[in-house]
Symmetry: none
Subunit: 220 residues, 4 copies
Amino acid sequence: MVPAFGVTEPRFSPADAGRKSPRIGRRASGDKRERILRAATRVFARKGFYATRVSEVARAAGVADGTIYLYFKSKEDLLTSLFEDRVERLLATVKDTLARIDAPEERLRTLIELQLGVLDGERDLAEVITVSLRQSTRLLRQYAAPKFKQYLETIAAVVADGQARGDFRAEVVPMEAARALFGALDGLALTWALGQAHPGTLRASATQVATLFLRGLSAR
Amino acid sequence: MVPAFGVTEPRFSPADAGRKSPRIGRRASGDKRERILRAATRVFARKGFYATRVSEVARAAGVADGTIYLYFKSKEDLLTSLFEDRVERLLATVKDTLARIDAPEERLRTLIELQLGVLDGERDLAEVITVSLRQSTRLLRQYAAPKFKQYLETIAAVVADGQARGDFRAEVVPMEAARALFGALDGLALTWALGQAHPGTLRASATQVATLFLRGLSAR
Amino acid sequence: MVPAFGVTEPRFSPADAGRKSPRIGRRASGDKRERILRAATRVFARKGFYATRVSEVARAAGVADGTIYLYFKSKEDLLTSLFEDRVERLLATVKDTLARIDAPEERLRTLIELQLGVLDGERDLAEVITVSLRQSTRLLRQYAAPKFKQYLETIAAVVADGQARGDFRAEVVPMEAARALFGALDGLALTWALGQAHPGTLRASATQVATLFLRGLSAR
Amino acid sequence: MVPAFGVTEPRFSPADAGRKSPRIGRRASGDKRERILRAATRVFARKGFYATRVSEVARAAGVADGTIYLYFKSKEDLLTSLFEDRVERLLATVKDTLARIDAPEERLRTLIELQLGVLDGERDLAEVITVSLRQSTRLLRQYAAPKFKQYLETIAAVVADGQARGDFRAEVVPMEAARALFGALDGLALTWALGQAHPGTLRASATQVATLFLRGLSAR
DNA sequence: AATGAATGAGAATTCATTCAT
DNA sequence: GATGAATGAATTCTCATTCAT
């Protein structure tokens, strides 16, 4: 049961602590920030980060150009915020979920289903994560890379744990397996998003990869 | 023995068929075109496609800004040409090589070693392929996606062939496996390029992934 | 005995005639208008008219941005009002005071002491008058210039009167002397405000200039 | 014999050492920088620094908007360069000229004639110097103020020298006299530029002020 | 009256591309 | 072919002003 990802799933925003509205003191407009973020996801997914004009995001969000800047420092901050609000929350959820499962095999399977399942319901987000998020070299290197590294380490830890328990083959290098697995999931999401992206298809891939990987790792 | 990739290795361009120099009739200074392409690889790798100024490529190549336009139609054409000259040749080589091998298992192993081996020697190229190439949304969708699709189909065919021979498990969907495998290789290259990128490390990963995948696919 | 200038000194606004608050009917919170004007003086003095944001004046005055517009038509009106409330009152006071003095020499000396003495107590105002007031080209030409011209004519009249009485040298062109004197006073205020602006220093300069000028003008 | 100031007077640009064309390597275009500077003087004088659009300067100079940025870092750099190319050269000339004269009285007279004489021929420049140059608070404080201070010190030194020789009254504070004199000259230039600005009029004022000041200073 | 979120016109600046030399 | 000065379209962002609350 992969929970829906992002906005539609309040479970991902406990207390909404991460929210930042630099110059906004008061009320309501929290939804305006959200509206802009959703609009940005939509437009970035269609045209890519660089080809997207700030005014296009504004129009898509139904606000004035200047309003964007009440909630975000710059166009790039829009992308960074997308990362923080969406991706980081996903990564955190995955970590949390894994912590509640014991069997290494089950943990990997859950991870795979979670990552792909979440994106299956949100094609635009999938495209933004696999494509747009990498368009800002700065975001990629200074911001995203470290987060992903942590995530990879989480996966590697699961693999290592499986090895310690004798479930996974000892000769596998955990970090290599983690990088390969993450790449496989990312690649599936990318090709899915760039292609037809039929709902359900991506989630279905999860079972395939999971079986493939687990059989590859299995010590038995 | 993974052959070196690209320019220094004429073996990969048997016919040079893919080369296009829109407005250039004679190819007197083919080496200037090459110098520009190498400079572009270097600069794109460091700063990304969008953050790179045409004048920076010119400076790095030791030519005047205008000279770039004698060999390339536009800045984007520089990226496209990089794709054509480098990536396409790699893909073609892979296909050619696979054609000369019979055993499905061996073919997959070779493919993996080829793809990672080539990039291991050219960090800049690896970064350009895994990062910059995705920065131009147009290049990605209109140009690269179809080529990669072909490539994925080549891989899928190998898997299907293995299934037909009874070597690989029948329940695996060949195209899914191909997408996952490609993603895994791409992800390994990406994380390698963004990280320390020690020469030899990436090539070493090849064995790991190969074993992992083949065991996962194996019918025995 | 130079009286303090401006707000704190109601003596300078016998009729308050010059005050304009375009859209304000009642003047319930005249002190809010005053607070804004003082805040503007402070901020304009520090940053200059153009570099000052309306929101900065609002913050400094402790009111909301929009409140400024309840009391002033525009940002420029803030400057114009500053001119009207402060400078015009000074000019009027000077005129009034001069009218009560008979001896030309004494009148010039008083004028000098009044102009410099007033600013000595209000560094911010001195800076606004010598710097910010010139930043709005429109204010300078359409508004301030005519007023200053009147003021110069007042001074010139004193000089001419002195000549008629045989106190001042006949070959001096009154208007030239007036422009030079005014410039000298303005320059002293400017350099004082831009520099250390120690209280008392500017007032002390008054005696110097007065002596210098009067000796220069004297027919004896 | 006050030399003409600025462009038309090559005497002021010995070897043209101060010229800067950041990104320009070669040739001819030195005159383009000059053309832009003249255009800027014209437009700044009419509309003031802030009300002037970069595109207006470009149009007035007959170049494209972007061309401005080949020669100047920013709009403000245009103003700074105007200061450097025009005002600094004037100040330097004054200093040089004074150095060749012995009698304090004669030196002050020359200084006055030089400063006013130069501007008399260039109304736009006079307006830029007395108005626009003060519109950028940063230019005024960080850049111009120190230069003017030097200039004031030069004047003060002349006064002090005159006192040492017994020519000028001992009770005058040299720096105060310098500030007053400079202010007087500046004020004359300002009112002249803002008014009719008939050629010759400003220069004529020089004699008046000179006489006034010298008589005021004189020990005899 | 007061507020401050929202607006959107406007402006500086950048940089891919051109073309006279 | 090669150059690089010049171009000007295009875009982000700012900030004075408005107006619903």
